[in-house]
Symmetry: C2
Subunit: 215 residues, 2 copies
């Protein structure tokens, strides 16, 4: 279980909240991006970022010149949200319409990942999470690229997940209304891959990509 | 054009930034949810929320008991991000891998929408944006439901969009590597609708939903 401090405690629809580490990890691992919130000169700021979970940390990366990464590196707290939308929930009443979703919120302080082996491993996970097999196929980072990437890890300690699933919850007195009710599920699917202009036509779409992204 | 204050100015990859109101509106209108950042007792917090754009405002809604909505109602600033993921961008080098996306960041102060006609119209847009035709089919809000919903509008003034599209950008010296490069597009598609348990089988999936969510 993660530690629930009051900022990540699920307050609205508390029954949808969980602090189970396995559930939180699954959501973080499925999400392709997160939104990072931080305070800059006393005011809130949010930026979408790619993330990966490496063990018990969520890792962000980018240019050392990034204002957000610099702010976090200097010890500012971060709040990170990821959301997976699973469907539209249609109730008989407008009021009870909802969405099915799985979300996670984490708050914590980032620390730079400076150890070269640890940093390289985090880079590998960034690639392999989304594109398993890619790390050994594409050109791996040069020294310049490696040194020009800032990696920050945020411990997954104060974290919660919130999940809504299943059918609509209608008021008892609405159940006999002649209105269609149910769920329209949402699926995010990869489309057909588009080769880069100028790609040598002899280079085929590789099997390791075909498996996960058949298109 | 929206006014770019320094918090929403696109700094990293500035060429991907735009302040064009039409582009910002299109992204806000396509996105089904946003992430709202705010400062609570000096610390950052983020929460995923459903939003709609009503004219030149982005509108959030929820229970008047919601900590976030209460904080914003009392005059705290909000930072709102929406992100649409369009695809994975595979370069010949790991370093130049990227994602195609369209995102918007807005900062501003929320004000409650108290005028009953304006509030009802915002409720209607919440429903009709995602489910056109639904407002006139489902049971509309009772007085209790209407009064039990807090609506906040944030003016879309300090706002920017950031967009990456198209093929990978490889370093010149990587172009001859024997590595597949290109884009794997991502599509979010509705699946087959799932009727609520207990729904009268005589109630068919309505035409207005069929049109947008054929399943």
């Amino acid at each position: 279980m993660t530690a629930a401090d009051d900022r990540v405690e699920v307050q609205r629809h508390a029954d949808r909240g969980t602090y189970d580490r396995g559930i939180i990890y699954d959501i973080l691992d499925e999400a392709l991006y997160c939104t990072v919130g931080f305070v800059h000169e006393g005011r809130p700021m949010v930026i979408p970022m790619i993330h990966v979970r490496v063990g018990e940390r969520i890792v962000l990366h980018g240019s050392p010149a990034s204002r957000m990464l610099r702010t976090l590196k200097e010890g500012a707290e971060a709040a990170v949200a990821v959301t997976l939308l699973d469907g539209l929930v249609l109730a008989r009443s407008v009021f009870n319409h909802s969405m099915n979703y799985r979300s996670v919120v984490i708050v914590g302080k980032a620390a730079p990942i400076d150890d070269p082996a640890e940093k390289l491993e985090a880079m590998r996970v960034f690639t392999e999470k989304i594109l398993p097999g890619r790390w050994d196929d594409a050109r791996q980072p040069s020294n310049r690229e490696f040194n020009g990437t800032l990696m920050l890890g945020i411990p997954i300690e104060a974290a919660s997940a919130k999940i809504r699933s299943g059918p609509p919850s209608d008021d008892e007195e609405d159940l006999d209304l002649e209105v269609w009710a149910g769920v329209i599920p949402f699926l995010t699917e990869p489309g057909a891959p588009i080769p880069a202009p100028g790609l040598d036509p002899a280079i085929e779409y590789p099997d390791y990509l075909q498996e996960r992204y058949p298109g």
